[in-house]
């Protein structure tokens, strides 16, 4: 039995090795063939093609904030171009750029502009990008509707109330000295202060810091972050509930979400040019100071060779900017900004 068994094992080993060799050889061939197959019809670069007869696939990844817009555009687009296979994913802006710069994603959704490190990454891989601004997301600063003592805050107040130096400040008035030191003359009410906001994992948290707190924190040599002792919540509903249940509450969430909520008062914000109410118009025009732009980044070379990407972005530039953005709760660009975005796309402006 024994020698027979070991002989069998040897034979088995040889067979396995042979199969592995053949498989790897085939694999190599496959790889070559497939990459040729997946090359979209590079010859058809005429811009006259209509959406209906375009085929191919578009891979989109990136910000989960922008994801709903790209998904809705994909849904609408699939009705006019059933032959195009659009896949949308939302792992986050940073992850999206990583895939985009590696050439794995054709389009990157981003809730901020591309960073220098990401640019280098893209350049190293020979990826040329077209930056297209598609929507604006405002951040609303809000308090309980019963809190009538205050209507408008400026960045100094917000830094004094929420910034890193406000730890354990538990009334609005207690933040006044620091706010005054920073040049604010808002009279903060002598009411209890409870802060509700999104947690660190949230894009809204990052944006709030970047737009409101970062500059002051840098000037004062502090870390650009919030105070650690606030009610952080991943679910915006719970943030709103906190605001609704608490007279002295202060918090921030995405504008679209706060705009429809009851018992919540949106505070006007003074970014240096006077108190500005948060509404769709002031956010679109950029008057309201706490807002950020949302972008898509298109791989220029892939767009040039893949008609499906061109058709999808073309569609994005019309239906996307005009209807999809507001239907998923963001603020549409002004006509002027839309024209500029379309211009960047039509001219294939790199960078």
């Amino acid at each position: 039995m024994k020698p027979f068994k070991s002989k069998l094992l040897v034979r088995l080993g040889i067979v396995v090795a042979a199969i592995a060799l053949v498989a790897s050889a085939c694999g190599g061939e496959d790889d070559g063939n497939d990459s040729n197959d997946t090359q979209p019809v590079a010859t058809a670069t005429t811009p006259t093609e209509t959406s209906t007869d375009v085929t191919g696939s578009v891979n989109i990844s990136g910000s989960s904030t922008v994801e709903p817009i790209s998904v809705l555009v994909a849904e609408l687009f699939s009705d006019v171009a059933p032959g195009v296979n659009v896949n949308v994913d939302g792992p986050g802006t940073g992850d999206g750029f990583r895939l985009f710069c590696a050439g794995d994603a054709d389009i990157s959704d981003a809730s901020r502009t591309i960073r220098d490190a990401e640019k280098e990454d893209c350049e190293a891989n020979g990826v040329n990008w077209i930056e297209l601004r598609v929507a604006i997301d405002g951040i609303a600063v809000m308090t309980n509707s019963g809190n009538t003592a205050i209507d408008c805050v400026n960045f100094a107040d917000l830094y004094a109330l929420i910034g890193p130096e406000s730890t354990s400040v538990n009334t609005w008035a207690a933040a006044a000295p620091l706010a005054a030191e920073l040049g604010s003359n808002t009279s903060l009410p002598d009411a209890g202060l409870d802060i509700y906001g999104p947690g660190e994992e949230s894009g809204t948290f990052d944006s709030f810091i970047e737009l409101v707190l970062e500059d002051t924190a840098d000037e004062r040599g502090q870390d650009a972050t919030t105070r650690p002792d606030y009610n952080a919540n991943a679910d915006d509903n719970l943030i709103l509930q906190g605001i609704q249940s608490d007279q002295g509450s202060l918090g921030w969430v995405g504008f679209a979400f706060a705009a429809n909520a009851s018992d919540v008062k949106l505070l006007e914000v003074d970014g240096g040019d006077g108190c500005t109410e948060a509404n769709a118009d002031t956010i679109a025009s950029g008057e309201y100071p706490i807002s950020r732009s949302l972008y898509i980044y298109v791989n220029a070379d892939k767009a040039a060779e893949n008609p499906a990407i061109r058709a999808y972005v073309d569609y994005y530039m019309t239906q996307g900017l005009d209807t999809a953005v507001s239907r998923v709760g963001y603020v549409a660009l002004t006509e002027q900004s839309k024209a500029q975005t379309r211009n960047n796309w039509n001219n294939r402006t790199i960078g």
């Binding site: 694999g27 190599g28 496959d30 790889d31 497939d34 990459s35 197959d37 997946t38 696939s57 578009v58 891979n59 989109i60 994801e67 709903p68 790209s70 998904v71 809705l72 994909a74 849904e75 699939s78 195009v84 296979n85 659009v86 896949n87 949308v88 994913d89 939302g90 792992p91 794995d104 679910d235 915006d236 509903n237 969430v253 995405g254 679209a256 979400f257 239907r327 998923v328 709760g329």
Partner: protein, 328 residues
């Protein structure tokens, strides 16, 4: 009369009671009764949790399930702007093919390894070391298997797992989850083989059967119901996993294709799966289409529960079949 003098009335009554209750066995086994009550309570708590959970999801998804069940089964993941288009077909497709991959890869390899370890391998330090490692592997967090899958199947062999999807396909997901449940399959199959009475095997050898004949005609048929139960439980585990799928690239937003569930052609394309669909939809709490996503998520949970239940029914049926075969 003599007794009456030795014992007072109180004592004799107590003795009488004790004897009576001892005969009727009432009130003697107090600890036993208490233990039984504790066990009953634990069972009740378990059932209560299950009932509350099922009630909650069925209630949440009731409207979707009753008004547009067919559309929901055929629909696709999306932005929620068109509630009538939202559905789970793509998720079911992914989960179904993951189950197929687990059955095709994990079951034969796992059961084969178990048979070798139980019936052939010598019990020495080396085989004990291997068994220890298999047990450890069964306890490794699933996200680690996700990383392994990303490295091996997505980045390692994309030309096999998904030439058009950079390897981010149902194939990669299925292979990853097959690897994930492999240790569980091996362990449960081993336990089932170990439960085969040694008399059965010895009897078989005694009448001159070879090792192969003993395993083929005695051990395996006897162990088959146990092996089946274990493997199908591991299948349910694979279908419920979400974390590793995120790493191998399950799509969360929108999928261009919506293949029929039996369409093999799309197993190398981008994919999603039921647990991903559910996590994604439950996370849409702060979007404008929250009212569409939350009931849909509940309905998707019900669909997944039914899917797993169907699998378990098949398992129970097969188990009965093998048990009957064993008895005859």
């Amino acid at each position: 009369m003599a007794f009456g003098k030795v014992l007072d009335d109180k004592t004799s009554a107590r003795i009488q009671r004790t004897v009576a209750s001892s005969i009727s066995r009432k009130g003697v086994d107090k600890k036993g009764t208490a233990f039984q009550m504790v066990l009953l309570t634990t069972l009740f708590i378990t059932m209560l949790i299950l009932v509350v959970l099922i009630f909650d999801v069925v209630q949440g998804g009731w409207e979707v399930l009753t008004t547009r069940l067919w559309g929901f089964m055929r629909g696709e993941i999306g932005s929620g702007t068109f509630p009538e288009r939202l559905g789970v077909q793509q998720g079911l497709y992914g989960s179904f093919w993951i189950a197929v991959f687990v059955a095709v890869f994990a079951f034969p390899i796992g059961i084969g390894s178990a048979i070798y370890l139980e019936e052939y391998s010598r019990k020495n330090k080396f085989s004990r070391f291997i068994e220890l490692n298999i047990r450890n592997l069964a306890g490794v967090p699933s996200i680690v298997y996700g990383l392994l899958g990303l490295f091996l199947f997505v980045e390692g062999i994309p030309f096999l797992t998904g030439p058009n999807s950079n390897g981010r396909s149902a194939t990669s997901a299925g292979l990853t989850l097959a690897v994930l449940v492999l240790p569980i399959v091996i362990i449960t199959a081993q336990e089932a083989l170990r439960a085969v009475p040694s008399g059965l095997k010895e009897g078989s050898y005694g009448v001159g059967a070879t090792r192969w004949e003993t395993i083929r005609y005695q051990s395996l048929p006897y162990a088959a119901p146990g092996i089946l139960t274990g493997t199908l439980l591991s299948m349910s585990r694979a279908i419920g996993e979400a974390a590793p799928l995120i790493l191998v690239g399950a799509t969360t937003g929108f999928l261009g294709s919506n293949p029929n569930i039996l369409d093999v052609g799309s197993v190398r394309e981008r994919f999603t799966a039921m647990p991903i669909v559910i996590t994604e939809w439950t996370q849409k709490t702060n979007t404008v289409n929250e009212d569409v996503f939350i009931p849909s998520a509940a309905a998707a949970i019900v669909v997944l529960l039914v899917f797993v239940l169907l699998l378990n029914i098949v398992a129970i049926y097969l188990r009965h079949y093998f048990e009957k075969k064993r008895e005859s």
